[in-house]
């Protein structure tokens, strides 16, 4: 089916750029077309091994004395996957700032954390699994916030009035189709509230946070009769700690979450090291090597596949003007021997055009490692060509 809405959007955005630039301080857009190919057919779910799509992302900003308005809209159309035909408002917010306080309201995407592989403390926004399976791309979250900056940090409180469940794509599938119906612990569906105190001094930077509300990542309960997975959202209370220490030759990183879910205490953490290397400096300015260890004692209710896993990876820019970028990540499960591989490649062809390539593969998994095992035979490659202006 022809995607008229998306073509219409492109025709509005392209000539509208000049008008938008006059109206707003900043306006930019990214138009992309993409293709996705799954190496294996998935008979239990859908059989779309090859699909194509269009993606539009537009951002704007307008400042008026102490007020700042931000907007960001994301929309995607996919030829095969109905769940990937959607629009999301990532940002639609206003911030008022003076020297003592910042007040904010609307929709925003927040990032908490320091790690490369899994951000266990990035808890405020729901993940957009239709755009990125690793959960790093987030949906917009409604909020009201108040922050007080001080000389070496900031204290913030957030009220999050709305909870958004995950919208699962048809593929990558999690073994069985995911039900469109969601179930909530005690019928509670709460965006929640959070506080965060960030400090930095000398070579240290760390934050202590608290979050209480409905956990963003559900437990997927197999429904044997219906042959589907039922998302079950539970309540969670978290104390979160994240920070970095800049040593002479490397950076130490920590993300930790302590909390209570379903009357049980739990701990999850990501401890890592980042080491910049200049061994190939004649060709590449800098290669950053990453090693992280993710621990989670929640067993099958863990939020990710990292429960006793080691992640190693590297990332670097290349090319005469650093027009290329590669990021590679591999994980190994110390309990169940599961292995996961992810490769991201980006290259800028001109000031306006670039392409991206992504490949994910579950190299090995056992049924005990439910989250990773569900993704076996779901390896895919994705190629997208972007025009940004």
């Amino acid at each position: 089916m022809f995607p008229p809405l998306y073509i219409l959007l492109i025709f509005i955005i392209l000539p509208g750029k000049g008008v938008a630039n006059n109206l707003f301080d900043d306006f930019n857009a990214d138009l992309a077309t993409n293709g996705r190919y799954y190496f294996e057919e998935k008979s239990e779910a859908v059989s779309d091994q090859l699909s194509g799509g269009i993606r539009v992302e537009a951002k704007l900003k307008y400042a008026l004395e102490k007020l700042t308005f931000n907007g960001e809209i994301f929309t995607n159309w996919d030829s095969m996957d109905n769940a990937r035909r959607y629009t999301d408002i990532r940002k639609a917010n206003v911030y008022f700032s003076n020297s003592k306080i910042t007040l904010g309201a609307g929709v925003d995407t927040f990032f908490w954390g320091v790690s490369e592989s899994i951000n266990v403390v990035n808890v405020l926004n729901q993940s957009d699994l239709r755009e990125s399976l690793d959960g790093k791309v987030k949906l917009g979250q409604t909020f009201i916030s108040m922050s007080h900056p001080f000389s070496n940090g900031e204290f913030s409180i957030y009220f999050l009035p709305e909870f958004r469940p995950i919208d699962f794509p048809e593929r990558p599938a999690f073994g069985l189709p995911v039900s469109e119906k969601n179930v909530y612990e005690n019928n509670e569906k709460e965006g929640g509230f959070a506080t965060r105190a960030l400090f930095y001094f000398s070579d240290y930077e760390f934050a202590v946070s608290y979050f209480e509300g409905t956990r963003r990542s559900p437990i997927l309960i197999p429904q044997v009769n219906l042959k589907e997975l039922l998302p079950y959202y539970i309540q969670t209370k978290n104390v979160l700690l994240d920070g970095v220490y800049l040593a002479d030759d490397f950076t130490l990183k920590l993300e930790a979450k302590f909390g209570k879910e379903r009357e049980s205490a739990f701990t999850t953490s990501n401890i890592g090291i980042e080491y910049p290397s200049y061994i190939l400096e004649d060709y590449i300015d800098e290669i950053i090597f990453i090693a992280e260890y993710v621990f989670d004692d929640r067993g099958i209710t863990a939020e990710t596949h990292g429960q006793n896993d080691i992640f190693i990876g590297a990332k670097f820019d290349f090319g005469e003007t650093n027009q290329g970028n590669i990021r590679f990540l591999y994980s190994y499960d110390l309990d169940n021997k599961g292995q996961y591989l992810e490769l991201n490649y980006q290259y800028r062809l001109s000031d306006y055009v670039r392409y991206k390539f992504k490949f994910i593969s579950v190299l090995d998994s056992s049924p005990e490692d439910q989250r990773l095992h569900a993704l076996r035979k779901e390896e895919f490659v994705k190629l997208s060509i972007h025009y940004a202006f």
Binding site: D26, F111, G153, L198, V244, L246, E320, D351, F389
Partner: protein, 268 residues
């Protein structure tokens, strides 16, 4: 008698030479520091400044890539001037920002905001010798320097480079970075005596080979007090790649606030 005098001279000569060299060395260090201190205070009282920049990246074959950015600087006599550099073009890196809080006692605090992932990343000392957004400027080159960041030595006085016509004299000094993670072993600077304009800096790598040459041209006087070069170039003599920064819309005292240079303002 003659022989005793000769012997005495022979015995004392090395001490006199050593003492004289030590004294010359001390004078050279003192004069180098004095010139650097005058350079450090030349812009006192400017409060804040801002400018738009075109960053032109040139490869060894002469092909060019242009990036547009803005720079804002807030005077901070306590620890050193804070700076905020934000990219405007190309669109895929628009909003990428580098915030620097210099420190007189320790290492500078530096953060990089990446809008594609809404993430603010702390830059470590070791990263600071890395290229800034693919240019010939390193993160280290993009920070405002404090007097305490270097040790100094006066070398000589000579005609300023590129200004041979008007008899301008430049003091040439060497500065040695205190930070062991600096990408340089030393920098040789040409500073005009009258107005303290920096005309040229030679950057030497850790192996003490000439790595890059910075040149500044098209100086203009702003607010009758502050000299600024409108065009600067950093040329890597080992690769023949170069980055040119062309400044426009330079403004002083436009009322920038501490809040705009706070870490939490990145991305807002």
């Amino acid at each position: 008698m003659k022989s005793i005098k000769l012997r005495l001279m022979l015995v004392t000569f090395p001490f006199v030479v050593v003492a004289s060299n030590a004294s010359a060395e001390q004078n050279s260090v003192g004069k180098g520091y004095e010139i650097a201190a005058l350079l450090d205070t030349r812009d006192a009282g400017f409060e804040d400044s801002s400018a738009k920049l075109s960053m032109i990246l040139k490869n060894g074959q002469g092909a060019q890539t242009v990036r547009e950015l803005q720079i804002k600087i807030l005077e901070n006599t306590d620890q050193g001037d804070k700076s905020l550099i934000t990219f405007d073009f190309p669109a895929d890196i628009k909003g990428t920002a580098l915030l620097t809080h210099p420190s007189r006692e320790g290492t500078d605090d530096q953060w990089l905001f990446l809008p594609t992932v809404d993430r603010t990343k702390r830059i470590s000392s070791r990263n600071k010798s890395g290229a800034f957004m693919g240019s010939e400027f390193s993160f280290e080159d993009m920070t405002n320097k404090n007097l305490e960041d270097y040790n100094y030595r006066f070398l000589r006085t000579e005609a300023c480079p590129n200004k041979n016509m008007d008899n301008s004299k430049c003091d040439v000094i060497t500065r040695f970075p205190v930070d062991k993670h600096s990408g340089y072993s030393k920098q040789i600077m040409w500073i005009e005596q009258d107005n303290k304009q920096i005309h040229k800096i030679e950057y030497y790598d850790r192996k003490d080979s000439l790595l890059k040459v910075f040149t500044a041209t098209d100086f203009k006087l702003y607010n009758d007090k502050y000299w600024r070069a409108n065009v600067v170039e950093m040329r890597n003599v080992q690769t023949n790649k170069a980055t040119v920064l062309e400044y426009s819309s330079i403004q002083f005292g436009s009322g920038l606030t501490k809040r705009e240079f706070h870490r939490s303002s990145l991305g807002k």
